[in-house]
Amino acid sequence: MTVAPLLAGAAALLALSIAAIPLARRPAGNKILYGLALALSMLLLGGAINHLVSGADPAWIRLPLGLPWIGSRFRLDALSAFFLAVTNLGGSAASLYAMGRGAQEPEPQRVLPFYPAFLAAMNLVVLADDAFTFLLAWEFMSLTSWALVMAHHRERGNAHAGYVYIVMATFGTLALLLAFGLLAGPGGGYDFAAMRTHEVTPAIAGLVLALVLLGAGSKAGIVPLHVWLPLAHPAAPSHVSALMSGVMTKAAIYGFVRIVFDLLGEPSWWSGLIVLFLGGITAVLGVLYALMQHDLKRLLAYHTVENIGIIYIGLGLALAFRANGMGAAAALAMTAALFHVLNHMLFKSLLFFGAGAVLGATGERDMEKLGGLARNMPYTSFVFLVGCVAISALPPLNGFVSEWLTFQAILLSPDLPQWALKIMAPAMGGLLALSAALAAACFVKAYGVTFLGRPRSEAAREARETDAFSLAAMSALAILCLMAGILPGFVIDTLGPTTLSLIDERMPVQASVRWLSIVPIAESRSSYNGLLVFAFVAASATFAALVIHRFASTRLRRAPAWDCGFPDPSPATQYSASSFAQPIRRVFGTSIFRAREEVNMPPPGDGRPARLTVTVRDLAWELIYVPIVRGAAWISERLNHLQFLTIRQYLSLVFAVLVFLLLVLASWQ
């Protein structure tokens, strides 16, 4: 499988986005364009999978574009093939979904031209094989997604979201640029092949790692660089949110893996330590903040932060093991991380699609105004439930498998020689477990408040099921979640070449294991069989149902809710999202969220309702961003006085510079 066809596909996507400019306003344009995007993504997906399973050698090509003396190089190896597959799987799903939901866009001409370009950019990022092409595609990806975020520019706060996003993105790009500058050296060997051979000192390597964490991390949403993510992802149209959360963050992961594992050469153990630590913190903070949200899409966005943390835990372990020459363990950790990359793409896209469907049906993102949608939107509610179970890392779905693998990797960490790692690894394991449990709590909340209970608003009561395309997309993803959950062995085997290419080691082949269960190291040590678990649960559930309906009653009576004898007709008395989260807010509360609860209780006899207002703020804003912004504003205010000087004062400036230079000259030699 050579690169050229894939590039052709990407180019076709770009052409599509140009064609979209005139077509966008046509009524049929929507279906045509998204349909074509779907077809192209499918083709690219096919190419990537073909390369993965055929295990072909890396292929590369050099186009006379980009930096003149280097050209723009593209390379397809196992790693890029895997991420290419992830990207285009997400891309196809989103396009399919958009064939239905895209029609509801108020201003399609602000979405359609950028959507295919966005897809193309992500494809090019994973294919690029020299620094310039990589960064070009990378920043172009940011640019197009920014344009898509600004598609709903009229909504309140979206401009702010887009602004924070684009600035953070450019910050990240500049950081990566510096990293590449170091890797390339003053000679300017910008192609990756040269960088692989170019040896760097440990100090430089550390600097590069830091810069990559800043660059790729800000794109992926590592705490505290995550602040843009929960603003920007929800602001975009839902299928784009899905792409940004599910796919674009993966491009960021790809960047990290490519640079740190491939270009940077042998890691040192503390790099693993840092990455591990960041991952753990990110995972827990992400989910904690997610718990406090009652905007459905923002909640999902914060969960992206959490899952990125989980992936980084895996990557950190892989670094640590590799630095100590524990190949098998490193391969296990790496597989876990990459597996989670795939999983997160699947269920996060699914969930964003669901949120989009809800948004379309009710016009609401605020969970406090939703509820009871399970009755009017049965299919959506079912597939959304699948997504919730998957993201909560519960068997038998896919989310559990990757976290299980991560746990298995952590259990190997006592063999690490360094104390810091010995202590850090289990601690992060605890955080991982915590975040998993909290995720479950959070999705009980999200699903329970949105789809269950009684409708909290007219819109929710009037909601209708979403269209066929969206349902098809969501169902496809749900099925994939299940498949990846009960047949993980195949995914692990497909990841083999990738880990092999990164850390000359791969997990044992799983396809041969009996009953298709997965065995990371040895069966006596640990094994898991999603298929059997699923079969058992299904079987015993049906068994129980059959027995009960056969031998016991089948009678059923509908009646008003019992509610301990005090049934209240008003839906307002239900548990709301924030009340559901209240116990956890109490537990982790004030320190992490800066949560402030204020009750103002009117005096007795006063008719006004008492109200409780809770404010939850993101620490990162408080501690980092606000001061920076204030500082910049302060400086520019001070400097701004220079705008209002008189000519004489300007002359004095010139004069001063002249005298200064003359003094320098006089004191020369």
Binding site: P64, L65, G66, L67, P68, W69, A131, F132, L135, L136, A137, E139, F140, S142, L143, M150, H153, R154, A159, G162, Y163, I166, V167, T170, F171, L174, L177, L178, F180, G181, L182, A184, G185, P186, G188, Y190, A632, A633, I635, S636, E637, L639, N640, L642, Q643, L645, I647, Y650, L651, L653, V654, V657, L658, L661, L662, L665, W668
Partner: protein, 486 residues
């Protein structure tokens, strides 16, 4: 036919100078707006063609005029932007006439001055004699002063006056520098005009008196640096840009700054060729960095859209000066590329801004909102322009900044960090304003304008292409110039 071609080929230089001058004289006496606008565009086009002919046949250097790899880049760029701007100015000035901001008398003057300006700049670029170069630059400055003040408003006059005074002092300093160069050269080259011929000077550069050269460079850097708009000599620039007619802002940002920069580069070459003289690089790099960061912060509190982009020009001039100051193949290449890209992009932005301010009837940023809604084409061109000038792909500025930042970081990490800081600040501030300008609900009056989109789109197309693909000959040429600049 071929004879004509040959003739043009042989007299390219003369034409580049003669066409603008002649048409200036002609325009001074020509009545009727439409005709003079057309003539203006036509002669600019002819100048462009003539300058292109320089590529084909390059005349030998005379004592007064010179065509070499360095200035030919500038000349063609100059002629091209001069031509597109003349097209833009046709539609812009038409609107100014309708709303009566300008009268017929002003117009004759305006067009004549426009051509004189082109003439002056071409002369300054072609000059092989540093005295001649000085005279030409003074000429260009005076013409722009007159054009900045053309609206006769309080602000316009103040801007023109500020520009005039600061410019004159700059000119004076530059002249002193020129004299010093001559004095440095005299003992070697001997008395008489030869002591001012650049090619001769460069030949003997190694044997010139280093001390005098250093002193000279200080004065020249300050003198011509004032024209380049390097902080803290920049004071005239924002006002001149914001108060003059927009075509002039475009030409100022796109061309005049380059011309001054070209002068500085010439003398940098001279010093670089002399082993004992101080390295001019650090001076330029320092001033460039200061300008970059200063302008970055100054962008934020701006309320006037043209003034904001004027500051952005200061910022980019800083980047370019920094690049040439750093020197080395990569940085010089980046500098040249960046200069070209900046000229094209910034002038295109001014085209857009000109029409926008005409459509909204104001230059106040607060009174301009939601352009992509009210004027989609203008609004999106503004978005494209700002995105391009802010250094985002797939536009050319991205490539130059990529090269500059990465190569600098490998050589001088701290400087690179400062550079990145400046870039980030500038980016952030530009984007704040862009969000307010281009998105959200439109406010204020939304007149349709008869805008000329061709120049804008042409510039953007070029910048876009350059960002993705640079043709090999251009690259080779730039690389040669980069070599030349050390």
């Amino acid at each position: 036919m071929t004879g004509a071609a040959a003739w043009i080929g042989s007299n390219g230089v003369a034409l580049v100078l003669a066409i603008p001058f002649a048409s200036a004289v002609l325009l001074l006496f020509l009545r009727g707006y439409r005709l003079s606008a057309r003539l203006n565009a036509l002669s600019s086009l002819l100048t462009l063609l003539a300058s292109l002919s320089l590529l084909a046949a390059r005349p030998a250097a005379s004592d007064y005029l010179l065509v070499d790899d360095l200035n030919i880049v500038f000349i063609i760029l100059n002629a091209f932007v001069g031509f597109t701007t003349s097209l833009f100015s046709a539609s812009y000035i038409a609107h100014e006439l309708e709303i009566g901001r300008l009268t017929g008398g002003h117009l004759r003057f305006y067009h004549a001055m426009y051509q004189i300006l082109l003439f002056g700049m071409n002369l300054a670029l072609l000059a092989n004699n540093i005295g001649l170069m000085w005279v030409a630059i003074e000429l260009a400055t005076l013409t722009t002063v007159l054009m900045v003040g053309i609206y006769r408003t309080h602000e316009a006059l103040e801007a023109a006056w500020k520009y005039f005074i600061l410019g004159s002092v700059g000119i004076a300093l530059a002249l002193f520098g020129t004299i010093l160069v001559y004095m440095a050269a005299r003992p070697v080259v001997g008395e008489g005009p030869n002591g001012m011929v650049w090619t001769v000077l460069v030949e003997h550069a190694a044997s010139l008196d280093p001390g005098l050269l250093n002193l000279a460079f200080v004065f020249l850097l300050l003198g011509y640096g004032t024209k380049v708009g390097l902080a803290p000599l920049h004071a005239w620039l924002p006002d001149a840009h914001s108060e003059g007619p927009t075509p002039i802002s475009a030409v100022l940002s796109g061309l005049l700054l380059n011309v001054a920069l070209h002068a500085v580069l010439r003398f940098k070459l001279l010093l670089a060729a002399n082993p004992e003289a101080i390295a001019p690089g650090p001076l330029m790099a320092a001033m460039g960095l200061v300008s970059l960061i200063f302008a970055g912060f100054m962008l934020y509190p701006r309320r006037d859209i043209k003034r904001m982009f004027a500051y952005s020009s200061i910022e980019h001039m800083g980047i370019i000066a920094f690049a040439f100051g750093m020197g080395g193949a990569l940085a010089n290449f980046a500098g040249l590329l960046h200069m070209t890209m900046h000229s094209l992009t910034k002038s295109a932005i001014f085209f857009a801004v000109g029409h926008i301010s005409q459509a909204k009837g104001t230059q106040r940023i607060d009174d301009i909102k939601g352009l992509t809604v009210s004027h989609p084409l203008l609004g999106w061109s503004l978005v494209v322009g700002v995105v391009a000038i802010a250094g985002m792909p797939p536009f050319g500025v991205f490539m130059s900044e990529f090269l500059l930042v990465s190569s600098t970081f490998a050589r001088a990490p701290l400087l690179a960090l400062l550079l990145v800081l400046g870039l980030l600040v500038a980016f952030g501030t530009l984007m704040v304003r862009l969000h307010a300008l281009a998105f959200g609900e439109p406010v204020g009056r939304n007149e349709r304008v008869k805008a000329s989109y061709v120049p804008m789109i042409a510039h953007f197309a070029l910048v876009l292409t350059a960002g993705i693909y640079l043709p090999a000959p251009l690259v080779a040429w730039f690389q040669h110039v980069a070599e030349m600049l050390h």
